[in-house]
């Protein structure tokens, strides 16, 4: 039996559900493979035939235009056939169970599910119950994980900082509700950064967050001091079932990233945001559009990283590697 559901017996990637349990070598392989794919988008014909004949189904139980589009583009650029199931009008909305929906799609000979779901563990559940030849990629599940987003963030950091050793990274904002932050923290620590700081009011920090290998701070100036990378997070109001904040304006005053706050970081700091941005809530427009911002590069890198992950999980590895 494989020691980890994500890996084959030979240690190759079979599913991509979480960063947890993956080692530095495998994460680096994802980044290196993504690097290889960056040129494809610049070709006149933006396609390579690696996944020709494969069928990839996007199962988006939760809306996300950006993530869904980059997964579709990635699959298309690998020459796979890709279809997106509109869950709002699908059989699950008519009462069919998730597993019955999966069984029906399996019967149509699909090769991969890309799953986004509001419930933590949904992608893992599908990976456990789907046919052995099918791979599952988690495109975000509840408050649990968003591993491809984390890897495209790592890819963007590596593009600018060349290596992870010695880097200080600050993640700012709604850590509590952020699956992206969880995956980022795991990836940053696995790749060997010197320090990961999380900066947020106590109400937006998970209990015992320090156990994740981070330094928790409530003060922006202290938190941003000498950091190489600042990752801002969106306030996930849709996940807040009670009052976590006095007001958005007060949050911006204390935790919003402005030009002034950025002066506490290193001069060559880069500013990231997984999007969508709430301008004037967690980040000032001048910073989001400023020279330190790599937010749009993150979006571009999303396609290459997803191409890499899709290729690796469907890569076979049946023979000599």
């Amino acid at each position: 039996m494989p020691k980890h559901i994500q890996l084959t017996e030979s240690g190759r990637l079979k599913h991509f559900l979480t960063i947890e349990g993956l080692d530095k070598a495998l994460l680096t392989e994802i980044l290196d493979t993504a690097e290889s794919f960056t040129g494809v988008s610049e070709h006149q014909i933006k396609k390579v035939p690696l996944l020709r004949g494969k069928t990839i189904v996007n199962l988006f139980f939760e809306n996300s235009t950006r993530t869904r589009t980059t997964f579709e583009l990635a699959a298309t650029r690998l020459s796979a056939d890709v279809l997106t199931v509109n869950i709002a009008t699908s059989a699950t909305a008519k009462g069919e169970s998730l597993l019955d929906t999966i069984r029906n799609l399996e019967a149509m000979h699909v090769d991969m599910f890309v799953v986004r779901h509001a419930l933590s563990g949904a992608a893992h559940f599908i990976a456990e119950h789907t046919a052995p030849h099918i791979s599952v990629i988690n495109a975000g599940d509840g408050q649990h994980a968003h591993p491809t987003q984390a890897m495209l963030d790592m890819f963007t950091i590596r593009q600018h900082k060349k290596q992870f050793d010695g880097l200080k990274v600050a993640i700012v904002g709604d850590i509590l509700h952020s699956r992206v932050a969880r995956s980022q923290i795991l990836a940053l620590n696995t790749l060997g950064v010197a320090e990961v700081r999380v900066i947020a009011p106590k109400t937006l920090l998970p209990a015992r967050v320090e156990h994740m290998g981070v330094i928790a701070l409530q003060d922006m100036r202290e938190g941003l001091k000498d950091v190489d990378v600042v990752i801002m997070l969106r306030l996930q109001k849709e996940r807040m079932n009670s009052a976590f904040l006095p007001s958005e304006s007060e949050f911006f005053n204390c935790y919003g990233l402005t030009e002034e706050q950025l002066h506490y970081a290193k001069p060559d700091v880069i500013v990231m945001h997984p999007g969508p941005i709430n301008r004037g809530v967690e980040i000032a427009s001048s910073v989001a559009d400023g020279e330190r911002s790599v937010i749009l590069q993150q979006v571009s890198n999303g396609v290459a990283v997803r191409m890499a992950v899709m290729t690796m999980v469907l890569g076979g590895y049946g023979g000599a590697a």
């Binding site: 190759r12 392989e29 290196d32 493979t33 690097e35 290889s36 960056t38 040129g39 494809v40 070709h43 006149q44 014909i45 396609k47 390579v48 035939p49 690696l50 290729t311 690796m312 469907l314 890569g315 076979g316 590895y317 049946g318 023979g319 000599a320 590697a321």
Partner: protein
């Protein structure tokens, strides 16, 4: 020719003269030389200099176009192809170090046609060996040799450029 007497300079001389003859016979105006990573690229660099071609050298990594992806997966660190954006109507001299099964060339042709429809493609290889599996063959060659099953020929380089015969037991 005995395998142990393969001399690189002699093979390059033969290949160069074979290509010059083919350029003349097939009237290849302003040909674009494309080397296939990695051995083919090294040979193409030598030929580009010897033939004194005007345009830049094209380089190609066929990893994305291999037909054995589902068996062996993909290695990271693929070198991106460096080709002109338009290959439409161009005369191309495609260069590889060793021609064996023909599958590498099939992959290279698929990639070339993704950039456009060339006028003519001339295939030039330093060494052609037995073992062809698909109906493709070189137009120009430095030498053709027979290798027993279980042996392969490999070019190492780029400095120094050397030809090695390996047995599959240690090469696999």
């Amino acid at each position: 020719m005995p395998i142990n007497s393969l001399d690189l300079e002699n093979l390059l001389d033969t290949l160069e003269s074979d290509i010059r003859r083919s350029i003349k016979e097939r009237k290849l105006d302003n040909p674009l030389l494309i080397g296939i990573h990695s051995g083919g690229a090294w040979i193409a660099q030598h030929l580009h200099s010897r033939l004194q071609l005007a345009g830049p050298l094209g380089l190609m990594d066929i990893t994305f176009y291999r037909d054995d992806f589902s068996q062996i997966g993909m290695h990271p660190n693929v070198k991106s192809s460096q080709l002109p954006p338009q290959l439409e109507g161009r005369n191309i001299i495609l260069v590889d170090d060793v021609f064996y099964t023909g599958r590498t060339i099939r992959a290279a042709l698929n990639e070339i046609f993704d950039y456009g429809r060339p006028n003519q493609v001339l295939l030039a290889v330093l060494i052609e060996r037995n073992g062809r599996q698909i109906p493709l063959q070189p137009d120009c060659r430095g030498v053709r040799i027979e290798l027993p099953e279980g042996q392969r020929i490999k070019l190492t380089g780029p400095q120094p450029l050397r030809i090695e015969i390996q047995t599959l037991a240690c090469a696999a």
